[in-house]
């Protein structure tokens, strides 16, 4: 899912607890963040990086699982602006 982050809740400089994403249609989604997002060997995305994206309106692409407890982001990568 592609969109812009409008909230990042983090417990440290690296670990995000949750992110809120607004998609291109204006719908808003809340994701819990898997620890794997930070440890992704191909694209580690820490909480500060997510916060930077949020502050600057840079879009991201969230890969997620629809779990019983809610949406779980398992990968967050940069998306080309406007792309």
């Amino acid at each position: 899912m592609k969109g812009v982050l409008v909230d990042v809740q983090a417990r440290s400089i690296t670990d995000a607890d949750s992110i809120t994403l607004r998609d291109q249609a204006g719908k808003v989604y809340l994701f819990r963040v898997s620890p794997g997002v930070t440890q992704d060997p191909d694209h580690p995305t820490n909480a500060s990086h997510l916060r930077a994206h949020m502050a600057q309106g840079q879009p991201v692409i969230v890969t997620y699982e629809d779990a019983v407890a809610g949406l779980l982001a398992v990968r967050v990568i940069d998306a080309a602006p406007g792309g």
């Binding site: 899912m1 969109g3 812009v4 409008v6 909230d7 983090a10 440290s12 400089i13 690296t14 809120t20 607004r22 291109q24 249609a25 204006g26 719908k27 808003v28 989604y29 809340l30 930070t38 440890q39 580690p44 820490n46 909480a47 500060s48 990086h49 916060r51 930077a52 949020m54 502050a55 600057q56 309106g57 840079q58 879009p59 997620y64 629809d66 809610g70 949406l71 940069d78 602006p81």
Partner: protein, 322 residues
Amino acid sequence: MSPKVVFRQFRFPLPTRVLTAMVTLVVFLHLAACAPAAAVTTQTPAGTATGIAAPKFAPTPSAPGGLTPILPASDMAVGRDQRFTLALLDSENRLISDAGVEIAFYKVTGPNQVQARYRAPAALFKYTGESEGGIYVARANFDESGEWGIVASVRRRGQSEIQVEAGFKVKERSDTPAIGDPVPASQTPTGVKPQDIEVFSSARPVNPALYRVSIADALRQGKPLVALFATPGFCTSRTCGPNYEIFGMLQQEFGDRANFVHVETFKGGKPPDVAPIVGEWGLPSEPWVFIVGADGRLRDKFEGSITVEEVRPRLAAILSGY
């Protein structure tokens, strides 16, 4: 499976009765547009019918004017002259940078009760580089911790004024050094030759002027210090990369009156292992810029993206006596 749409409280949940009180506050602010900044208490019974939909404190499709507020700061605390940042997304998910913004701050003092504290204009600072947007910055005075809210009055050319609300928390003490506090005398790596500096710095190319002294040495010199905590090699886009370049520009302009030091926040300049100095300075995020007086006490701090236009006058004022 299609994901569920979530309409969630923004930042922190507020009971309906508090939201109702906040609606009343908004109405009050409309009616008392020229009121002084002194504290004003409004109180309404729960469920009071105001004829206005309760603010959602959430970035929903129905946000007024299609604007969604974003509050990037992560370390707001009690104190004066706190840097308060606000970004505004339009309905197309683009940051707006063409509006005049004034922010009314109010304290949530209890159920059904909020206090309007003061208003402050927010200056727009446009991002450099690839970004087309900007961030609105106001200087806030928080005299107590707890739940706070803002009503941002947004004026765009040819459009009616829009009011956007958001809530946030103010800590009793910031995680990072507070304004006026002595800063840690951290031992940070130094170097002269680029190839030596590249061992511990992720910046490319490195700017050797930012590694001449350590923070500890700079403080011992009794000279103002400007410190950038960032990992420019990892975050190369709008935030960390430009911050490093902007920091270098400020060093060129003010380097005769202050020491400028760049510090990596991750070991080896690359996540995920956090450098010990992150704990010493209590950084909840990165990047940060700290301005320290010759007495070793913090004078100003900037979380996230910086612009020359914002930092230069603040730095010039602090260094005016040196």
